[in-house]
């Protein structure tokens, strides 16, 4: 056993069974990480659709949730690595600051909403409003996304390996959108843009960060803001 593996195995691991332990105990433990502790690994079993699992993490902990979760899982995450081995309800990783959240199954509506940083990976499909009002988060969805995704997205990137629903990127600011499949319709002021070398490079890094090796950045189309709706212009009244 090398030193790194030895160090890993010497770490203690906390297991929280949400069928017998109140959610608040899990979240309190996650909020009370003392400096220098080795106790940074958390296993959560029997979440059974609970809301607010692992919200408000502000330390580089690792949380594995075994089962599906309800609303707002990993919300406000700042530095944690949270993996849900199941599906997630509405608002997963809402307002994430930094860290990584991985959903092995599907995510419900407004995944990654208002996120300011970090990486959200959804291995199944995401429903409507994925990345709504995103402000710096990177979101990678292996499947499809629903309607009104990236609505008013300000910054960060949304990468979709499948298809996008209606009104993608409506009223978009400077979030970058990459879709490999079809887009049912683009929202107001969202247009397809040229994939220049810097975008290929940017997307390649995101795919690598998300652990995706079998898809090439050249397979995607890029969408962004036409920058016509940033401020009210009477000539655009029809578009509002």
């Amino acid at each position: 056993m090398d030193a790194a593996a030895q160090k890993e195995s010497s770490r203690t691991m906390s297991v929280f069974d949400l069928s017998i332990t109140p959610l608040r105990e899990l979240n309190s433990a996650l909020h009370n990480i003392s400096a220098g502790t080795n106790d940074m690994n958390f296993e959560v079993i029997n979440p059974r659709g609970s809301h607010s699992v692992a919200v408000g993490i502000d330390a580089p902990v690792t949380v594995n949730v075994h089962g599906s979760v309800g609303y707002y899982c990993a919300g406000m995450n700042d530095g944690g690595t949270v993996t849900v081995h199941g599906s997630a309800g509405p608002g997963v990783a809402e307002n994430m600051m930094s860290g990584i959240v991985v959903i092995e199954g599907d995510a419900s509506q407004y995944a990654g909403a208002t996120g300011r940083g970090g990486l959200l990976v959804i291995k199944g499909n995401a429903a409507s409003r994925c990345g709504i009002s995103m402000k710096g988060i990177d979101i990678v969805v292996h499947g499809n996304i629903g309607h009104m995704s990236a609505f008013m997205g300000q910054s960060g990137s949304l990468v979709v390996l499948g298809n996008a629903g209606d009104a993608l990127g409506d009223s978009l600011y400077e979030a970058k959108l990459f879709v490999r499949g079809t887009v049912k319709s683009l929202g107001a002021d969202c247009i397809e843009k040229e994939m220049r070398p810097e975008h290929i490079e940017h997307l390649a890094k995101l795919l690598e960060k998300a652990g995706i090796t079998d898809v090439k950045p050249e397979e995607f189309k890029r969408y962004g803001s036409a920058r016509k709706l940033y401020t009210f212009n009477i000539d655009n009244a029809d578009a509002y």
Binding site: R48, G49, S50, G70, S87, G89, Q109, A127, G146, H147
Partner: protein, 301 residues
């Protein structure tokens, strides 16, 4: 907010458990709405007979001697009392006359619903209390729907609780709020329909009843609802043999479905489904916006 649930059984061996499964699903959704709760269960139909679920604020006086009073009017009936509700067993061809007949002998009694197989129980209060007072757990059936209410559009009363039934064996639960229900209500009143409340969801139920009366099946009626009803809605609807789900195009009211060889289940949240048998391996999905889903025992057979 509101919480809604539905369970449509494909495997007949689960039928004795329908009341218990649906009760647990609804109780799990209690924190989505504590104002009132209700459940509709489709049981076994008896040839040539129909059931009428009635409700009274003074059950002791209204239900005492009710069977005899109705028999004296020439109606072949029996009455089973469950707390504030009672179920009348009557000849199937008498469901059209029952409201008038009841009004003549017990003017304060309200009809919750009628049909060959449906029984509807709803009251103000929490799901656990409503389920318990009507002994829903002991009920068997082929499918059922349930609702726990956070009131927005009309008063917290028994009649304002869901499910709403506006036609024989038809009922609906709704999470959301409609914005054009007053117009639709006026149109339906012009067609001859009657309304018990000012509630928007009752209008949705009546709309579907009206569409099906014009020959549409449940799926077609729900497709029509997408065109004609404005507002937020996730509907779960039951008919004698059918079970349908539809969400408005915005689809902000939550919905999760699960299907196995044994059942199709609906919950406002996944939490409502976690105790169903075989849920670990069920196909679980979020119903798409503006997409009609429906299942029918008769069409499957």
């Amino acid at each position: 907010m509101c919480g809604i649930v539905g369970l449509f059984l494909k495997d007949r061996s689960l039928e004795p458990q329908l009341g218990t499964l649906l009760s647990d699903m609804l109780i799990t959704m209690t924190d989505r709405g504590p104002d009132s709760a209700g459940i509709a269960i489709y049981g076994t139909a008896a040839d040539g007979r129909a059931k009428v679920t009635i409700q009274s604020a003074s059950p002791d006086t209204d239900f005492a001697g009710l069977a005899d009073a109705l028999k004296a009017k020439g109606l072949d009936t029996s009455v089973v009392v469950k707390s504030t509700h009672a179920v009348l067993d009557i000849p199937a061809d008498k469901t059209g006359d029952i409201r008038e007949l009841l009004a003549s002998v017990r003017p304060n009694v309200r009809v919750m619903g009628s049909g060959d197989s449906v029984e509807i129980y709803k009251e103000t209060g929490l799901p656990k209390d409503v389920v318990s007072v009507f002994d829903v757990r002991s009920m068997s059936g082929t499918h059922g729907i349930g609702h726990t209410r956070m009131a927005t559009e009309s008063a917290v009363t028994t009649l304002g609780a869901h499910p709403f039934s506006t036609g024989d064996d038809q009922c609906l639960v709704h999470n959301g709020s409609l914005s054009n229900h007053n117009n639709i209500r006026r149109e339906l009143i012009r067609e001859g329909m009657t309304f018990e409340t000012q509630n928007d969801s009752e209008v949705a139920a009546a709309y579907l009843t009206s569409q099906m009366a014009k020959g549409k099946d449940l799926g077609e009626a729900l497709t029509g609802a997408l065109d004609d009803l404005d507002g937020f809605f996730t509907f779960v609807v039951g008919t004698k043999s059918g079970f349908g789900v539809v969400r408005d195009p915005i689809a902000c009211k939550p919905a999760v479905m699960a299907e196995t060889d044994q059942y199709v289940a609906f919950g406002s949240e996944y939490r409502a489904l976690v105790n169903l048998p075989g849920i670990e391996t069920a196909r679980v999905w979020e119903p798409e916006p503006a997409t009609v889903y429906f299942w029918d025992h008769e069409k499957a057979a």
